[in-house]
């Protein structure tokens, strides 16, 4: 049994599971703010009831997000102890600040969201709801600053005295361009998730011919918020691709299954069958120029292919070995300035030398064959990335189409006229979650073999704990999480079927029953 594999499996399962609840929290919290804003501005009680009903579903989801997030906060220590030691000086800070600046805000105020309706003024309650939403967004920001540093480790340098990476320039960590692109992409994906959730369940109510007043108003909110968000996801997803192309060339090449470097501007492979062993893509349908334009925003910058990047890795490994040897000598000769100078000159590629540890412990004696194997190990799982990316993007374009139609129907007040549209909205319900999970796979699985790109290989990051412990906790998490998932879905379905009237204990009706279409001006 391999502890690296088990630890990775556990991290992937718990992260993917946590990420089932996060996007809905991000999106639905803002939708609640929008609805409650309308209530405060117009005084129409239906908007308060909408906030309460969707808030009930929000609460069921929020509890799961809080619960599963705890695992994530501590797993870096339990299962990735060497990672925690090696980069904790940099990576720990955004995680701690997430707790201090964001999670505290949303978690402290969320209790008042549910229990404060009769204890707070209208405006004060709206402030509380907004606080929950803002806290959630900032929470995502800090987590993505931490994650972005794993993708693009700026503002830090290796310290041979403490044998770890340390912060050199905190503002570089904070203002990491990857973090900004990822933040907008991820929260917008959350908004799409929230919008699809509201749209689909409302569509179900319209199809069932019940809760019409609430459903139509909810769909109107979801349509406009969803359309803006869906556009944002795709545009900022493109920004993510652009920033990735500057620092994670291997990830970009793997997503494209681009084995050889093509003359600029490179073509974009729409579909095809990547063949990992044969290093080629069969039946490729290509769009000329497109990849070059997306990845480099120019017609003459080259996007390097996988084979050239492997050759580059080979060079970096040899360079990193010089740093590694200087570091080994420094241990017995801590004051030697010349060794430190050598280390400093080559330390940027130290991580590449560490790749060799997978193949032999005494890496200073690595042969050309070992180095070639280590260089080859920098290629991620091309077919998985190729397809995960394409499915995610296809979902993204489908959301734009769906929300564009919804927006048009809402603007012309015909949301309830087209059963095909309503069915399509309902059928879309699982897709945002699928797209979000695929996005995680592209970003994190696509970073392999690195846990910190170019700095620390994943297999070195694990804890020295007994492998049976990890097996035990992995099985434990799977069992717990499966049980909780059943309870979560059961409760969601229960409250959706109960509907707003019975959930809130009174009939949710429009202020003017003859005019069921939503109207803000009253």
């Amino acid at each position: 049994m391999d502890i690296v594999l088990l630890s990775r499996l556990q991290f992937a399962i718990t992260a993917l599971y946590h990420f089932l609840f996060v996007p809905l929290t991000l999106g639905l919290s803002l939708i609640l703010v929008i609805m409650e804003c309308v209530y405060v501005m117009t005084g129409q009680t239906i908007w308060r009831d909408m906030t309460k009903f969707w808030g009930t579903l929000f609460g069921i989801n929020f509890a799961m997000g809080v619960a599963t997030g705890i695992t994530m906060e501590f797993q870096f220590g339990t299962n990735w102890a060497y990672y925690a030691h090696y980069v904790g000086d940099v990576f720990g800070t955004p995680l701690a600040l997430e707790g201090l600046m964001a999670f505290f805000l949303e978690a402290t105020l969320v209790g008042l969201f549910f229990f404060g309706w009769n204890r707070l003024s209208k405006v004060a309650h709206l402030v509380v709801t907004a606080g929950v939403a803002i806290g959630s967004q900032f929470s995502a920001l800090w987590i993505l600053i931490a994650n972005a540093w794993m993708q693009f480790p700026v503002g830090a340098k290796f310290n041979p005295d403490t044998m770890r990476m340390e912060v050199a320039d905190f503002s570089a960590v904070l203002l990491n361009p990857v973090a900004q692109a990822k933040f907008i992409h991820t929260v917008a994906a959350g908004y799409v998730t929230g919008s699809v959730f509201v749209l689909a369940i409302s569509a179900l109510y319209v199809l069932q011919k019940r809760h019409r007043a609430l459903a139509l108003r909810s769909m109107t909110v979801a349509a406009s918020f969803g359309l803006a968000s869906a556009l944002c996801v795709v545009v900022l997803g493109d920004e993510s691709g652009y920033t990735a192309s500057t620092n994670q060339k291997m990830k970009v090449a793997a997503i494209e299954a681009m084995w050889q470097t093509e003359p600029a501007p490179a073509a974009f492979t729409l579909v095809g069958i990547p063949d990992l062993a044969g290093k080629r893509t069969d039946y490729a349908v290509k769009v000329p120029w497109m990849l070059g334009l997306i990845a480099t925003r120019s017609v003459d910058t080259v996007v390097p292919g996988i084979e050239d990047l492997v050759k580059l890795a080979d060079k970096k490994i040899r360079n990193g070995l010089i740093a590694y040897e200087a570091l080994a000598k420094l241990r017995s000769d801590r004051g030697n300035a010349q060794l430190r100078a050598t280390l400093d000159a080559h330390v940027g590629d130290l991580g590449y030398a560490l790749l060799l540890k997978r193949f032999r412990p005494d890496i200073e004696h690595a042969t050309d064959a070992d180095i070639a194997r280590a260089a080859e190990s920098t290629v991620p799982d091309v077919p998985v990335l190729f397809w995960a990316f394409r499915l995610m993007v296809a979902c993204g374009f489908w959301f734009i189409a769906l929300f564009a139609v919804a927006f048009y129907l809402s603007a012309t007040r015909r949301l309830d006229r087209h059963r095909l549209f309503l069915w399509a909205a309902l059928a879309t319900l699982p897709l945002p979650w699928l797209a979000a999970e695929l996005g995680w796979i592209v970003a994190e699985y696509g970073r392999q073999p690195w846990v910190i790109e170019g700095v620390l290989p994943t297999f070195l990051g694990v804890s020295g704990t007994d492998v049976h412990n990890v097996l035990f906790s992995l099985v434990g998490f799977v069992v717990f999480y499966s049980g909780l998932a059943v309870a979560d879905v059961y409760l969601m379905v229960k409250y959706i079927r109960l509907g707003p009237d019975r959930t809130l204990g009174h009939a949710v009706t429009a202020p003017n029953v003859t005019d069921p279409t939503p109207s803000l001006a009253k």
């Binding site: 940099v90 997430e98 600046m101 999670f103 505290f104 008042l112 229990f115 905190f170 309870a487």
Partner: protein, 373 residues
């Protein structure tokens, strides 16, 4: 500010965060443990849950923030403690995962078996973290077997069974009685009617048990070998636990002998628990005193252990201390700046939430309110 001062401040902040967790999340845990004993009907159980309903989420963040702050300020401790205490940590995580779900989901379905199952879950997930945190602290006094290699990779021979030694189990009971006392004063304050009265009767038992166990643990520590740094200390040196010599000395009371004022902490823990008994009919002061008992208990342990964070029994020289397990100076500075600005803000809106939710929780209100847990 010097690196030495920053490390000292962050050692104190570590204590503040642990106290914050014990005081804030402590009464949640204690109430859950007490629920089967003080609440007999379904409505009474819901009353217990609804006393913590609006605030448990914020309280639990003290735990998350504690984890994040240890990661950022004491990364070596974060790596060593959590991977070393792997299965104990897993049990705590499992409990703290189940608890939120139990609180929110329990009353959403009116099926006796569904509710009975979550009641059981609430009790167990209250007991488990309360005991394990104590067991972990107890093990710090004995030291645990671990070492670091030249790459500073952590190696340990800790197993779950090796943590369950008599002294740590005693400290686990200290922790449990402390949080049960805190939960009892909370329920006495917040639950009106029969539940509050039953909780009030628990206060004396819990406080007496706590005092006896706490003092017994103190006596036991006095005959336990402590740890002492034998080589010259470099308080501004790099965070590398391989450059010092540590030997065992007869007792952990060296700090107390050097600074007798520190005895205030254990005295306060005793006095505060006694005060909770005396004032048990005045709920708010009793609650404040049980909170003070939690704070003083943690301070007592911290003062004895300083400067050790995680002593190694198998290779004492690689023990983690305040001087060689911290983040870089820059990270400690940045984090301190953020804490100075944001912790008061956090405390302010937390206080506001408690103010808005002030007043007792009544069974009649819960029966009427469809949003109640």
């Amino acid at each position: 500010m010097s690196y030495e001062a920053l490390r000292l401040i962050w050692w104190m902040l570590l204590g503040v965060l642990l106290i914050g967790f014990a005081v804030m999340d402590g009464f949640d845990l204690g109430s859950a443990v007490l629920m089967p004993f003080v609440a007999r009907t379904d409505l009474e159980r819901r009353q217990v849950i609804n006393t913590i309903g609006p605030v448990w989420e914020g309280n639990q963040v003290w735990f998350v923030l504690g984890g994040g702050a240890i990661f950022a300020a004491w990364p070596a401790l974060y790596a060593a403690a959590f991977s070393g205490f792997y299965l104990a940590m897993f049990a705590v995580l499992a409990a703290l995962i189940f608890r939120p779900v139990a609180i929110v989901y329990r009353s959403k379905i009116e099926h006796p078996r569904w509710r009975a199952w979550w009641d059981w879950a609430l009790f167990v997930t209250g007991v488990v973290p309360a005991v394990i945190f104590g067991v972990a602290v107890g093990n710090l006094f004995l030291g645990v077997p671990f070492t670091f290699d030249a790459d500073l990779r952590f190696h340990s021979d800790i197993t779950l069974l090796s943590l369950l030694r008599p002294f740590p189990l005693l400290v686990g009971l200290v922790s449990l009685t402390m949080l049960v006392l805190h939960g009892a004063t909370w329920l006495s304050l917040k639950a009106e009617g029969a539940v509050g009265q039953r909780a009030r009767r628990v206060i004396s038992f819990a406080a007496l048990a706590f005092i006896v166990l706490f003092d017994l643990a103190g006596l036991w520590v006095s005959i336990t070998d402590g740890y002492k740094i034998a080589s010259a200390i470099a308080p501004d040196g790099p965070s590398n636990p391989l450059h010092k010599l540590v030997y065992r000395e007869p007792s952990w009371f060296a700090n107390y002998a050097a600074h007798p004022a520190l005895w205030l902490a254990p005295l306060l823990a005793n006095a505060a628990a006694l005060a909770a008994i005396v004032l048990r009919r005045r709920p708010l002061p009793a609650f404040l005193f049980s909170g003070l008992a939690c704070a003083a208990t943690i301070a007592t342990a911290g003062f004895a252990l300083f400067p050790f964070l995680l002593p190694s029994s198998s290779n004492p020289n690689t023990s983690l201390t305040v001087w060689d397990a911290s983040s870089s100076k820059l990270t400690l500075e940045i984090m301190l700046g953020c804490v100075v600005v944001f912790l008061p803000i956090v405390l302010a809106y937390t206080a506001w939430v408690y103010r808005v939710m002030r007043g007792p929780v009544r069974t009649e209100d819960i029966a009427r309110d469809r949003g109640a847990y």
